[in-house]
Symmetry: C3
Subunit: 668 residues, 3 copies
C-alpha cells in the first residue's frame, strides 16, 4: 500500500435526494480518500433477471475519480434480489429451523447452483465493467460471508460425500465418533441421517467444520472470478467479522479466517466496539491482531463505527483515538460504515459519519482532523511492520467443541470468553501479540504461546506444542486444553492428554467451584479477586512446581496452577477459571521469565502502547490514553519526534496525554 | 342512554346445572339490569354446519325480560366451531409462525371467504331471531377484534393490491421505503415478497397498518349486517381491548380504535387492572378516556373485573371505587366479566362476581350496594358530559414505528411506556384529558396537547401541530417526536424535523444515558428522581429557553428540556426519558402556563377528582381515595350535595374519605 | 433377592480399545457383582434391517459369567437405529412442535406399528439368545420409558376412540369438559379436533392421562414378550425416572409409576441428585419411597451417579453415604451409571466410576470399600422390610391439573414443589413414609396421610379420604386440595369440596399473598419464616380450630391453617404456601397427635435415621450424617451391634459420626 486510506462505505442508491457532488465535497473536506460501493445492492444493479443497470456505479466511479477518491467495488452477492427468491425459493438456506424466509441479507444457501449461477453472472457483469476504471483500486468479494447455517438436503448429501471421503470406512467413523452410543451407528452410507438433530458432538462439530469449508470454497470461487478481471495494482479482499455480542467480541466460529483469507491479496475486517466510558481499544486490537496474523501483513479495516449503532456516539477525542489505534495494530485503512445514516429499513440507527440530516456534526468534524493527519503522516505511518514475540493460539475446532462441551448447566460462557480472559490481560499489559490458528506452520519466531481452552486438538498439534517447549519456548495453557482429539473424542489417557508430561501434571477429576479460592492468595490480588469460578480441574503435579493450590476443605490437596520445566522451555498450566487479576499475574510472571517484558510493559492500561517499524525503518510508538482523565508518563525510550505535534522528545521527558489522547513518537 | 346500566356477561351455556331462575334472582338482588350473552358460543348455537339451536338464547331472553333485565346480544364470531375447522382448516390464520392450530379463540383469518360466509349466516340467523325481542337493547359485534397476525398467501396478495393502489409506481415505493437497502428492491409487482420475514421497517409498519385496516373493514361489514335488523332504540357496539400486560396497559396496536369505532352507535371497552395495593384507577381512567374520545361521547364498559383473574380479589370498598370511577370517566355502563366463575377450560381462575360455588360472597355483596346506588342515582349520574382542555395525542403509526425503532438493545420499553409516563402524571395531577388520534380534525377545543413519542407522522400532521401552537396552543412533546414521516422514513432535515422551528431547537445526535442527571436538579426532585434513562437527545437550542441541561462531562453543553414561544403559543420539548417526578413538574408548569390549573389540581393522587356535567346541567365532582388510608380535604368549591349520603356540603368544609372511599358532589 | 447387588451399566460397545478383561478385573476389585448391558445399542446389535450381531452381548455374558458377575440384559428399544428412521421417518413421534428429527434417544412414537414390529423382533432375537445364559439374572425392558409427547394424527385417532369409549355421549363430554366455552363444543365425533392446540384444561389433562396409558400399555406389551423367555429365578424390571430439574426432583408426570410397574417382577428406578455441599439424601429417600411403594417391596436402583454429570464429584465419604442410604430405603441393588466415562457424543461429562483414563481414582477407590461392605454385610442388609405409618398421597392427575391451573402469572412452582415442600420436612424429621397414588386400595395400615395439592380428585377418592379420617386417621391437606374433580371440572359446591366437612372449613376466595404473615407467629418460627407466599385461600372455619390466621389489613378475618376433629380422626388443612419451617411445625404437631413420634424423631437432619427389619427379623437402624461436620447422638435404643465396625452398642451410648458418615446398628 503506498499510503494510508481513510474511507467510508458509500450508498448513492440509498440517498433520499441527489447528494453526490455535495457528499464528495464533504468527503474531500474530511480527507476521505477511498469509498467502498455496490456490495449491498444487487437488486438495484440487476432489477430483473438478466436486466442490468449500473448507473449508480458508473456515476459514483466517475465522480469519485474526478475528485481523486479511490473506490473499492464489492460483489453484491450477500443479499439476494426479490426476483430470484420469487423464481427459486430454494435458494434460501434451509436450516435446522426449516426453510428460509425472504427479507434479511445472508439467508441464501451458498452452495446452491441457482444462486451460484446468478452470483457468477452479476460478478462478471459488474467487475468486467469497472475493472479498468481508474478510480478502482480493489474489490471486496461478498461481505461478512458465513455459512448461514445452511443444512438442507443438498448440503447433507454433500456432507455424506465429504465424510465418505474423509473416513476409509463406516467402522472407522463409528468408532472415532462413538456412534454406538444411543444407537446412532451408521451401518450403511445410505442410512446417513441429516445431522441437524444430532446429539453426537463429534458429528455436530464435523458438520460445523464442513460448513466452514463451504465458506472457504465459496470465497475462493469468487476470488477466482474476480481475479480474471483484476488489473495490476488492484487487490481483492474480503470483509471478515467476529463473534457478535452487540459488538465484535471474539473469534468468528462460522468461518475459518486463516483458510478463507488465503486466496485474497489482503485481509480486511470490520470492527465494532463499545464507546464512551466503555471504550477500551481491546476489540480494535483483537480484531487487528487476527487480521494481521492471517497473512502476517498489514490489513484493512473496511468497516468500523462512526457514530455507530444506537447511541454509541463517541466522546470528543475518541474517534481520533480509535483511528490511530487501528493504525497502531497494523491497519493501512480505516473506513467507516458508513458515510450517511439510513433513512429507512433496518439499520436506521446504525449511524454514519453524517446523521440523517447530512450536516456537519461533532463526529464528522473530528473525522476532518483525522483525515488531515492521515494525509500528512501517511509516509511515516503506512505499512507499519509489527514483530511480536508472543502469540495467542486459537482454534475454530476448539471453539466448536466448547459449544458442545462447555462448562456447566448454568454458565453462559463460551470459548471466546476464555480467549478474551487471557487476551485482554496481555493487551492491558502492553504485550503485543499475534493471534494464530493451528494452520500456522512454525512457532519459531515466538517466545511465548498463550493457549486458551484448546479442547479439541490433534496429536500432531499437541506434539508440536510440546516440541516448542522442548526447544525453549514458553506456553501458558488454560484449563480444558488437550482434553480431546480433533474429532472431540476425549483422550483415554490421563489428562491433559499429550501435554501432561510437558506440563508435569495429571488429573482425571474436575468440578464446578463454589466458594473456592486459591490458598494463601499466592498472587496477592486480594480476597475479591482470589476466587475461582465456573471450572476447576483437580490437578496432581508430577514434575511441576505448584504456583497455586485450591483452598477448599476437600479439594485442598489438588493444584490449581502449575509450572514445569520441559526441555529448555517452560509450560504453565492454569487449571481453573480465575479472575482477570490472577491470570494477569500468571501471564506477567511468564512474560518476565521469557524475557518479554520491557519499559512499555511497565506502563499499563489505560495507557496503551503499540509499536512497530515504519517504511523508513524507524520505530514508531503509539501511546493511547484509554480513559476519561489525563495521564502522563516519563518517556522510557530515547530521543524521538512526536509526529502529531512535531515536538521533539527526549529520554525521560514527561509526556502528558489529555483524556482519550494520542501521541505518536518516531524514534530517532 | 336513559339510565345507568349495571351488568354482567352471562353464560347459560356454561352452567354445571340449571341455574337460570336462581341467577336472575341473585342478579335482581344485586341491581344488575343488563346482561351480555351469546358472543362466545357459536358451536352451541350452530352445532353442525347449517344446523341451528338457539335454545339457550331464547330462554335467557325470555327469562331476563320477565325479570326486567336488558340483554345485549353478541355475534358469536370470534371463536369458531370445531366443524368449521375440520371442514376448512384454512380458515385458521396463517401467521409468521405458520399455519394455525385449533383450540383458542381469535385464531381465524378474518378475511377468509369461508369464514365470512359462515359468520354472515350465523349473524343473520341470530340477530334476525332476537332483534324484536323486547329484552334486547343492543348488539355487540364479535369481541376484542384484532387481526390475529393473519399473514397467509391470500393476505399477502391483498396487501400487494393495497400497495399497488397506494403507490403510483414501484420506483416511488422503492424510494419512499428505501428498498434498495440490502437488495430489497421490488422491480416488478410479481416479485413482491411475503413480508413476514421483512427487515424493512417501512414495509413492516405498512403491513401492520394494512392489518389494522382489515379489522376496520371486518367490523364495518358486521355492523352493516346487524344494522339490517336493528330496531329503533337498539345500539350496535364493539368491545375494544388494550395493550395487554397482564392487564389493560395502553393503546392497542392491533386495531385502530378511532377508525373502527366509526360505524358503531356507541363505543365499548373492556378494562382489567391490578387490584388490592396496586389499584390506582389509572387504567380505568386511561381506557375510559380513549373510549370516550373516539366519539366524544359516553361509552360502555362491557367487561371489567369482579374478582378478576388469579387473585386480584378487591379489598373491601374497591369494587365500589372502581364502579364509580368508570362513571366518572363518562361510562354509562359497568359490566363484569362475568357473572359466575368457570368450572372448566381456560379462564377458570378469571373469576366472576360469583365464585364457583355460586354463593353470595363479599364481592357480590359489595356489588349489591353498587347496583342499589346506580339505580337510585342514575338520573344524576348518567350521561356525564366531560369537556377537557387537554388532550394526549397518540398514534398507532407511532406505536408501530417504535416497535421497529425503539430505544436500545436492552430496553424493553415500548411506545405505551412513553404514553403512560406522560398520561399517568396528568392523571395524578387531576388533569382531565382526552386521548385522541391523528384522525381528529380539529384541536380548537384544546388548550394543551401532550404528544408522546410521535415518531412517525406526516408533514401535514406536524404542520397542523405547528399551527396549533402558532394559534396560541401549548404542546408538550416527548423525545423521538417528528423524527420520521408516516412511512417511517427518517426526515433528512435537522431534527426534530418539521417541529424544530416551533420548538426552537435542533439536534442530530442522541445517546443512551448512563449516569446522566439534569444539571443542578432544575425541578427540585432530588437526586434519585433527577436521573435520565433509556434515551437522550443532544439538543442545541436555537430560539428556545432551556429548562434543563444534561449533567455529564461530555454532553453538558446540550439541552435536555426546552420551551419555545412560537406564534402566540408555546412548545415544550422533553428530549430525554426522565423520572415520573420530572415529567410531572414539566407538565405542571405547562398546565399552569396554559391556565389549566385549578382547585382540583391542588389535590393530587391518591385523592383523584373527576368532573363532568349531568343531564340536569349540574357539575358533578367525583372524589376518589385511591389509598389504603383515610384522606381528607377542604371542599374548594361552592355548595353542593354529596349524592351517596345525601349530605349537604358547603364551601371549605372538610370532607373525609375512608380508605378506598368515594364521594360524589353535585354542585348547586 | 438372595444378596445385595452392587453394579454398573457396562458398554463394551463404546470402548475406545479392548478393555473387557481389564474392566472385569477392576470390577472384581471393587466388589461389582452385576452389570446391566445392551439397552442402548440397537444399532450395534441390528446394524441393518434384519441383520443381527450380538457379538458384544455374547462376549460380555461369557466373560462376566467366568468372573462370577451377574448380568441384567436390557431390551434396546428406547433408541432407534438410523436405518429404521431412514426407511420409515414416521416412526419418529410427531409432537405439538411437529415431526421429529433423528438424533436423540426416546424420540419415537411408541404406538407406531412399524416401530413395534421392529422392536418385537429385536426383543425376541436378543432375549431368546441370552435367556438361558447362566450369567443372566434378569431383564430391563426399554429405559426410562415415557410417551415422548407423541401426538400425531394416528395418536389423535386413538384418543378419539378412547374418548368415545369413555363417554357415553358427546353431550356428556361437552358438559363435563365445559366445551361450550370459546366455541369448543364437539357436536360430532368426526369433528374431534387434534388436541395439541387445545386451551381446554380438561381435554388437555385427559390427553395427558391417555398418553400415560400408552406408556403402561407399551411396557406391559414388552413384559409379555420377555416373559415368554424368562427362566426360573430371573426377573423383569423397568428403570423409572423422575421429574428432571437437572436431577431427580419429583413425581414423573409422563408415566404412571404404579400402573406401569404392575406387570413387572420388581420395580427399578434411577436417582440422580446434587452432591458435595448440596447432598441431603432427600432424592435418594424420595425416589426410593416411590419405588418401594409401587409394590410395597424392595426395589433396585438401576442407575445412580458415581462422579455424576458435570462436576458433582462426591466428597470423600459421600459415595458410601449414598450407597447405604439407598439400602436404608429398601433398595437391594445399587448400580452406577456407568462404569466408564464416555469419550464421545452427548453425555461425555456424565462421568462414570472411572474417568476417561480408566485409571483408579478416589471415587473408584471408595467404591471398593462399598463393594467389600456390601458383600460382607449382605445377609444382614438385604431385603430390608419397612413398615411406615405415614404415607404421602400423590397423584399424576393432580400433577397435570396444576400444570393447567397453577399459581399465578409469575410463579414457576408446580405440583412437585408442593409435594417436596411437605415431603422434605418429613424426611428431615426422620418420619419414614410411603409415597402412594390413588390406585392404592386401602389406607388401613397408615395412621397419617399427607396430601399435597390434590387438585383433581374424584368424589370416590375424596370420600375415601373422609372415611379414613372418620375411622380415626389423620390427614394433612395442603391448599388446592379437593378443588376439582378427576376431569378438572371445578366443584360447584363450597370449597374445598367434598372434604369441607371433614376439614370443618369453607372458602370461595383466594388471593396471591404479598407481605402476608401468620398472625402472632403461631409456630414461633421467627419473622423471616413466618411469611406466606404464592397462594392463600381465605378460609372461614365452620367446626375447625384455627391454628393460624392471616396477618393482613383486609384478610385478617380469614384462617390460614386449621384443624378439625371428624369422626375419631383429625383433618388438618394448610390453606397457604408457607415456609419450610411452618409446614414442618404443622406436620410435627400432627405426627405427635397421631402418635407417630419417637426417639428417632427427636433427632433431625442432618442426622438422618432410617429403619427396617432384616431377614433375621432384627431391627436395622441406619444413621447418616448429611453434613460436612461431625455429629454425635446418644443411642436412644437398646443394645445392638454397629455392623460396619462390629462394635457393640449399649443404650444411651454416645455415637459419633464423622462428616458424611454412616452407622448401621442391628438391634439385639
Amino acid at each position: 500500500m503506498d499510503k494510508l486510506l481513510y474511507g467510508v462505505a458509500y450508498y448513492d442508491e440509498y440517498m433520499p435526494y441527489e447528494r453526490l457532488d455535495k457528499d464528495i465535497q464533504m468527503m474531500k473536506e474530511a480527507g476521505i480518500n477511498v469509498v467502498r460501493i455496490a456490495e449491498s445492492t444487487w437488486s438495484t444493479h440487476e432489477p430483473q433477471n438478466g436486466v442490468f443497470d449500473f448507473t449508480s456505479v458508473d456515476r459514483v466511479l466517475d465522480a469519485m475519480h474526478a475528485a481523486g477518491i479511490h473506490v473499492i467495488v464489492g460483489t453484491p452477492t450477500y443479499a439476494v434480489p426479490t426476483w430470484m427468491v420469487k423464481e427459486h425459493p430454494d435458494v434460501l438456506a434451509t436450516t435446522a429451523q426449516g426453510p428460509g424466509k425472504y427479507g434479511a441479507r445472508q439467508i441464501m444457501d451458498i452452495t446452491h447452483p441457482t444462486y451460484l449461477f446468478y452470483a457468477e453472472r452479476i460478478i462478471r457483469k459488474l467487475i468486467s465493467r469497472v475493472s479498468k476504471h481508474p478510480a478502482v483500486i480493489g474489490y471486496q468479494t461478498d461481505n461478512e460471508t458465513k455459512h448461514y447455517n445452511t443444512a438442507g438436503d443438498n448440503v447433507q448429501l454433500q456432507f455424506v460425500k465429504y465424510m465418505r471421503n474423509k473416513f476409509s470406512s463406516l467402522d472407522e467413523l463409528n468408532k472415532e465418533f462413538g456412534l454406538d452410543y444411543w444407537s446412532n451407528r451408521i451401518n450403511s452410507w445410505e442410512d446417513f441421517p441429516s445431522v441437524v438433530g444430532t446429539i453426537n458432538g463429534s458429528l455436530g462439530a464435523e458438520f460445523a467444520k464442513f460448513q466452514r469449508q463451504l465458506v472457504t470454497d465459496f470465497l475462493a470461487w469468487q476470488v477466482g472470478i474476480v481475479n480474471e478481471y483484476k488489473q495490476d495494482g488492484q487487490f481483492v479482499t474480503q470483509n471478515f467479522d467476529f463473534e457478535w455480542r452487540g459488538y465484535s467480541y471474539g473469534i468468528q466460529g462460522d468461518v475459518d479466517h486463516f483458510a478463507a483469507s488465503r486466496p485474497f491479496d489482503i485481509t480486511s475486517v470490520d470492527i465494532y466496539h463499545p464507546s464512551q466510558d466503555e471504550l477500551t481499544g481491546i476489540e480494535i486490537s483483537f480484531g487487528g491482531d487476527v487480521a494481521r496474523s492471517t497473512k502476517q501483513s498489514n490489513y484493512l479495516v473496511l468497516e468500523t463505527e462512526a457514530q455507530a449503532f444506537w447511541h454509541w456516539v463517541p466522546y470528543p477525542g475518541q474517534l481520533r483515538l480509535q483511528a490511530f489505534s487501528h493504525l497502531a495494530s497494523g491497519a493501512n485503512m480505516v473506513a467507516y460504515w458508513h458515510w450517511h445514516s439510513l433513512h429507512n429499513s433496518f439499520e436506521t440507527y446504525w449511524k454514519g459519519l453524517l446523521s440523517h440530516d447530512f450536516e456537519p456534526n461533532p463526529v464528522y468534524n473530528e473525522a476532518k482532523t483525522i483525515g488531515s493527519d492521515f494525509a500528512r503522516l501517511s509516509p511515516k505511518l503506512v505499512n507499519l511492520k509489527k514483530t511480536n514475540r508472543v502469540a495467542v493460539l486459537f482454534s475454530n475446532e476448539a471453539l466448536t467443541s466448547i459449544k458442545w462441551f462447555g462448562f456447566n448447566f448454568t454458565s453462559d460462557k463460551n470459548y471466546n470468553d476464555v480467549v478474551r480472559w487471557m487476551y485482554d490481560e496481555l493487551y492491558k499489559m502492553n504485550i503485543g501479540c499475534d493471534l494464530i490458528d493451528p494452520s500456522v506452520e512454525s512457532y519459531a519466531d515466538y517466545d511465548v504461546l498463550v493457549v486458551p481452552a484448546l479442547y479439541a486438538a490433534s496429536d500432531a498439534l499437541l506434539e508440536k506444542l510440546n516440541q516448542f517447549v522442548q526447544d525453549g519456548g514458553h506456553i501458558v495453557y488454560s484449563f480444558k486444553s488437550g482434553f480431546a482429539n480433533e474429532h472431540i473424542k476425549v483422550r483415554s489417557t490421563r489428562q491433559p492428554g499429550l501435554i501432561s508430561e510437558a506440563c508435569g501434571i495429571s488429573y482425571n477429576l474436575f468440578v464446578e467451584p463454589k466458594h473456592v479460592a486459591l490458598r494463601d492468595d499466592p498472587f496477592g490480588v486480594g480476597e475479591e479477586h482470589n476466587q475461582v469460578h465456573t471450572w476447576m480441574e483437580l490437578i496432581t503435579p508430577t514434575t511441576a512446581e505448584v504456583l497455586a493450590w485450591y483452598d477448599h476443605p476437600h479439594w485442598g490437596e489438588y493444584a490449581a496452577i502449575t509450572q514445569n520445566n520441559y526441555g529448555t522451555g517452560k509450560a504453565t498450566y492454569v487449571g481453573c477459571y480465575t479472575s482477570a487479576a490472577v491470570i494477569r499475574k500468571v501471564l506477567e510472571r511468564v512474560m518476565k521469565e521469557a524475557g518479554v517484558w520491557g519499559a512499555d510493559q511497565e506502563l499499563a492500561f489505560p495507557l496503551i502502547v503499540k509499536t512497530g517499524v515504519n517504511d523508513q525503518g524507524h520505530t514508531i510508538r503509539y501511546y493511547f490514553n484509554y480513559s476519561d482523565a489525563p495521564v502522563s508518563f516519563k518517556n522510557p525510550h530515547g530521543e524521538g519526534t512526536e509526529l502529531l505535534s512535531g515536538d521533539s522528545i527526549v529520554a525521560g521527558q514527561e509526556i502528558k496525554l489529555e483524556r482519550w489522547g494520542v501521541r505518536i513518537i518516531e524514534q530517532h
